[in-house]
Subunit: 274 residues, 2 copies
Amino acid sequence: MPQAPLPTAKRRPKLAELISDDIKRWIAAESLGEGDRLPNEKALMELYGSAKATVREALKILEVEGLITLKTGPKGGAVINQPGMEPASRMLRNFLHFQQLDGRQVYQLRKLLEVELAASVVGRLTEDDYRQLEANMTACTCCGGEEDHRRQRFLELEFHQLLARACPNPLLAFMCQFLNDMLRDLVVIKKAYVPERKQFDHANQDYHRQLVEAYRADDTQRVRRIMAEHMADAESHMSALEAEMAAQMLIQSDVLHSHHRSKLHNFLTDNTAV
Amino acid sequence: MPQAPLPTAKRRPKLAELISDDIKRWIAAESLGEGDRLPNEKALMELYGSAKATVREALKILEVEGLITLKTGPKGGAVINQPGMEPASRMLRNFLHFQQLDGRQVYQLRKLLEVELAASVVGRLTEDDYRQLEANMTACTCCGGEEDHRRQRFLELEFHQLLARACPNPLLAFMCQFLNDMLRDLVVIKKAYVPERKQFDHANQDYHRQLVEAYRADDTQRVRRIMAEHMADAESHMSALEAEMAAQMLIQSDVLHSHHRSKLHNFLTDNTAV
DNA sequence: TCATTATATTTATACTAATAAATACAACAA
DNA sequence: TTGTTGTATTTATTAGTATAAATATAATGA
């Protein structure tokens, strides 16, 4: 048999990985968090008997994973940083970049999760939350202007992000925020300008208004029903960005620079003979 | 005002990050995948006019993100690797390690997602899938032995993983598999030995059997109903591992070595004067 | 001819050393 | 007190060298 090199083959773990795992184990064992500091690079070099570059690679791993941030100067160094969702979100996007994913599939989840999330925040909204929601809605109604449909869509998604932040279940909150982020970036890429856009915007605003009312009444059933309708309605307006997700998934926040062609690209296309 | 150093402050992006972003942009633009190779380190050094260590750090970022794998030897180098779920899963665990998360919250999602997933694979199971499901079930009934409750639990979760692999929605599949992985690792840590364990195992086996029947009949409604009952039942047996999730979230697969104390720990506790 | 072994080449991996950049903190001057 | 400047500390980056791993290819043996 050709002995297929299956990817699960346990390749020799690199030194830097061992070190980063060791540090992780330390963080877990001591249950450290937010602000606690690691020894500086020199100390780590001596401790692990490794060279600077190796220690740096280990720290780089932890930095990419969002567990530490590295700063220069006195009081700098590696400080433990309880990671936000960005690293997880980024990796999930990397993963999805290579899968085929369309709007229908996103809404298959959104229809379930946004409803559950909406219900889970009933009775948990502070006056400040209400203030922010109201502010968002007035901003929505205001900018019903000419070409600002994009901004409109941003605000509509921000409404849902506000709810997600109040969700007591961190996993549910993560998933909903991830879906919202994905939709937000899709709007940037393909400007979803459907003709009956105005009508859609108006419907969204109405749903949001009804939701806040239901929240104020602490009526979980009504919240569920309205959010379910809202999502079903939104899905029906998704036709614009049906396909072509997962295309620009890798470069997320880099919308401003996405017109830059990579050096690699320029290099490899100039020298036609590769 | 004290000018709080908010974490969103755009710190000067490090050179290595710029390079890795550039490479990402290249991958996205050329829509490369699986097996395509990057130039070797020396070429990248020249291209970006940077030192070896810097290029290495950039490659390290991409490696941690699962986008490339580095190999030595001829035909080695950096090859593009369409990432599986492991990196995303790992980051999500890092994130959750610092949140408080309990079994109830996990099942809040599982009750929704497993049902949706179960329904989504109706009519998509191949004969080979059925074979694997049957094999799993017989393995379950067989090892109802003495102390192998853990293995029993593993197999029960593996049943759900098999379904997830057949799911056409990659996002839904990811989320369910993530939840299963988390539950699996929890079993390893806290051996969930409840007294009426045997009864629970038997109930699970019965649900699985009924599910396969419903799948063979292509009866989506029945699949939904059975899976919903299955999840509700499983949740009611979750009391054993109520709390104490998110504790050992960082070191995932390292169960075998978790008794090792980190070098850092030994170092810092020996020298009492830190 | 075929399989096995040795060798050479390519490549990442790891180490050493030194300079540059950034920042906190203290010392100083107005 | 306030603002500036210097200095020490720490990472960031560069440069070069050496080692180890993996593979293709040539050499060897049956």
